[in-house]
């Protein structure tokens, strides 16, 4: 009896009789397309795109970061936030908000995660042209659930993590890590194709872009 695997592979091979046997199966990208599209100063473009998605976004200097984290959490009215184990303590130097730690090794139960007021994380890379922040599960970004279940996500992006366009970002990522690309708060266009921000994922995304020149 042939297995489904043999059947499918057999049919595929039978269907490809026209392909010369010596045609190489491997292929590299031709890359006739641009690495980026010269849309303006990187950080300005990132801020513009995030703003377009209705994310809250601010540019801050490194020495202002702790104060801006505190101010953002206060504006949000957050009492308790989930913080991945690898997030720098310095971010929280000026806030009295309760930090609930989470990590792969010591994960919060789902109900507890559902009970916090937000999540504060870093990111792996950000893409200016598309207004995208990519998380890769490093200890300062945490498990995927931590930035999904709470209704508010505050993300710290350092200027050196920002690239102009998608190709540069893809080349920096490690495929074997769980990757989440985030471009604004959750949204839907399912009703008459009108975009509405805020469905199942965090309804508010706030981004602090940290650069030496603010």
């Amino acid at each position: 009896m042939t297995t489904a695997r043999e059947r499918v592979l057999g049919r595929v091979r039978a269907a490809l009789q026209d392909v010369p046997a010596d045609e190489p199966a491997e292929r590299s990208l031709q890359r006739t397309y641009a690495d980026s599209h010269g849309m303006g100063p990187t950080l300005e473009v990132l801020v513009d795109r995030l703003d377009d998605y209705k994310a809250l976004v601010r540019r801050v200097r490194p020495e202002e970061l702790a104060g801006q984290v505190a101010a953002a959490l206060e504006r949000r009215g957050a009492q308790r936030v989930v913080v991945p184990s690898g997030a720098p303590d310095g971010w929280f130097a000026e806030t009295g908000v309760e930090r609930v730690p989470d990590s792969r090794e010591d994960p919060l139960p789902l109900e507890a995660l559902d009970g916090v007021d937000g999540a504060v994380t870093g990111c792996a890379v950000a893409v200016a042209e598309s207004g995208t922040i990519v998380l890769d599960g490093e200890p300062d970004q945490g498990r995927r659930a931590t930035t999904l279940v709470p209704d508010y996500h505050l993300c710290v992006v350092r200027a050196e993590q920002v690239v102009d366009a998608v190709p540069e970002a893809v080349r920096m990522l490690e495929p074997t890590r769980p990757l989440t690309w985030i471009s604004g708060p959750s949204a839907t266009s399912d009703i008459e194709l009108d975009r509405v921000e805020g469905v199942h994922g965090p309804r508010t995304l706030e981004v602090l872009v940290v650069a030496a020149d603010g």
């Binding site: 292929r27 990208l29 795109r49 207004g131 399912d190 469905v199």
Partner: protein
């Protein structure tokens, strides 16, 4: 859920009914024009680079299809190395059986689902229902369709045929039967409707232990699966459950992770007309301590190898399901998705459905004609599928099949008349002599044509005769 495409009449008849529904035409016109404009803006923003990306996207997909056996084996190897289990299904029945068994093994009777064309194609929800398993759709538009016991009518926005007031009615009447009811004062503001969906599904996400998804891409070299979405329902399903089962057509493979740098630009801009969709999840097998700890990939053929075997029709398998061709199509805009009688509507459906199903039914045979061949679909296709070329190719196959005796007789007559100058001359002379006797309305098959057109006037003499009379001078 019992709605099915089975029993929808062939396109001409179904479209005839659809175009008379003014609410439907209003909804479709508004939606397709909105998204068409948005797409135009974000595509134009990339200037000439768009065509370079489009060529590369087409080349990647075409290459992968030409070596699909190689890449399928590579996917199997990569996914298994990353801790996933790979299953093969040659048709819908096998795929449904595998998924049903896997769900039974989890001991669960409820599953949450991420919007997936492949699982709609195989009617997985109905198969699960027969096995006592309830599948909850979580994408907002899929939820609307499921609650309304309706059928999807668009690849990206399955409820595009419904307006906000109709959606409000469905929520008010049906949500309670499926779980958390709609709030009593629900308005038809899209914000309020989205909020009602959030509340309705929240507990479901937090408590359901098994999820079923499709995938936009499967990366062969890394074993990574990719799902693009907007609402976060995808992230919920892909992250919170203990077991994840992904059903993916064998044409969804791309060779390398780097190929995503092309498709992550092409797909969002073509699909929702955004620079990027709000959320994309990429996962590779199992990550200890993060996300589902059991992962199954079901590789689905279900007619795809038949499409692959047709060197003209093969290009339909490049499709990345963006739905730009639906939004650009003047026929889709007027007839809507249901008239195509399949989960794949619009121009891509008109070439994909008959090929997947083997042109066995009247519905399939009518689909290659559900187009004016204007070419707008090809223009907007991010992987350059020449849909008009495939439509004409499929029309040839339909015409060569049984039936169509009238057309065949006329074509045979034309062939005889055109086969030599002498017979053409004789035929043209006969036509000129009979010109007074040709009625304005032709009988029989040709009457379909003269219903809406005038019969052209036959000249006294043919061009060839007039030319000859002038001495046939050459310039």
């Amino acid at each position: 859920m019992s709605a099915t495409f089975l029993g929808i009449p062939p396109f001409p008849e179904a479209a005839h009914t659809a175009v008379e529904d003014s609410q439907l035409r209003h909804n479709l016109r508004k939606a397709t024009h909105t998204i068409r404009d948005k797409r135009g803006q974000v595509v134009d923003e990339l200037g000439d680079d768009w065509s370079a990306l489009r060529s590369e996207g087409a080349a990647i997909k075409e290459h992968t299809l030409r070596h699909l056996d190689h890449y399928l084996e590579q996917v199997e190897d990569s996914v298994q190395r990353a801790g996933g289990t790979v299953h093969w299904a040659s048709d819908a029945a096998e795929a449904n059986e595998i998924v049903t068994r896997l769900v039974h093994e989890t001991g669960q009777s409820d599953v949450v689902k991420v919007k997936s064309m492949a699982t709609q194609e195989i009617e997985l929800n109905q198969a699960l229902e027969r096995a006592g398993i309830t599948a909850y759709e979580t994408d907002l538009a899929e939820l609307i369709v499921q609650l309304g016991d309706d059928l999807p009518s668009h690849i990206l926005v399955p409820a595009i045929h419904l307006g906000r007031a109709q959606i409000r009615e469905i929520f008010l009447q049906q949500m309670a039967e499926w779980g958390v009811p709609a709030p009593p004062g629900l308005t038809d503001d899209p914000r309020a409707l989205a909020e009602a969906a959030r509340v309705h599904l929240r507990e479901r996400f937090l408590s359901t232990r098994t999820a079923i998804s499709g995938a936009n891409f499967v990366v062969a070299d890394s074993g990574t699966l990719v799902v693009l979405e907007s609402e976060g329902n995808g992230r919920m399903c892909l992250t919170l459950p203990e077991t994840l089962i992904s059903v993916v057509g064998i044409e969804k493979i791309v060779p390398t992770f780097d190929d995503l740098e092309v498709f992550m630009q092409l797909l969002p801009r073509s699909s929702t007309g955004e620079r990027m969709n709000p959320y994309t999840s990429m996962w590779t097998g199992i990550t200890p301590g993060d996300g589902p700890q059991e992962f199954h990939l079901v590789l689905l053929d279900n007619g795809r190898t038949d499409v692959l075997g047709d060197t003209v029709g093969r290009q339909a398998l490049r499709c990345i399901r963006c739905s730009a061709c639906l939004n650009a199509c003047p026929v889709y805009e007027r007839a809507g998705g249901h008239a195509y009688g399949s989960v794949y509507p619009g121009p891509i459906g008109a070439i994909l459905t008959p090929q997947l199903q083997g042109m066995s039914s009247e519905v399939d045979k009518a689909l290659p004609y559900a187009s004016s061949l204007c070419g707008a679909c090809y223009e907007v296709c991010p992987v350059a599928i020449d849909i008009p070329e495939v439509l004409v190719h499929l029309r040839e196959q339909v015409a060569e099949g049984p039936g169509h005796t009238g057309e065949k007789a006329m074509m045979a007559g034309a062939e005889a008349a055109l086969s030599s100058p002498a017979t053409l001359d004789a035929a043209q002379r006969a036509a000129s002599l009979a010109r007074g006797a040709v009625p304005q309305h032709l009988p029989g098959l040709a009457g379909n044509w003269t219903d809406t057109r005038s019969v052209p006037e036959i000249p006294e003499e043919s061009f060839r005769r007039w030319w000859k009379k002038r001495g046939g001078e050459r310039s």
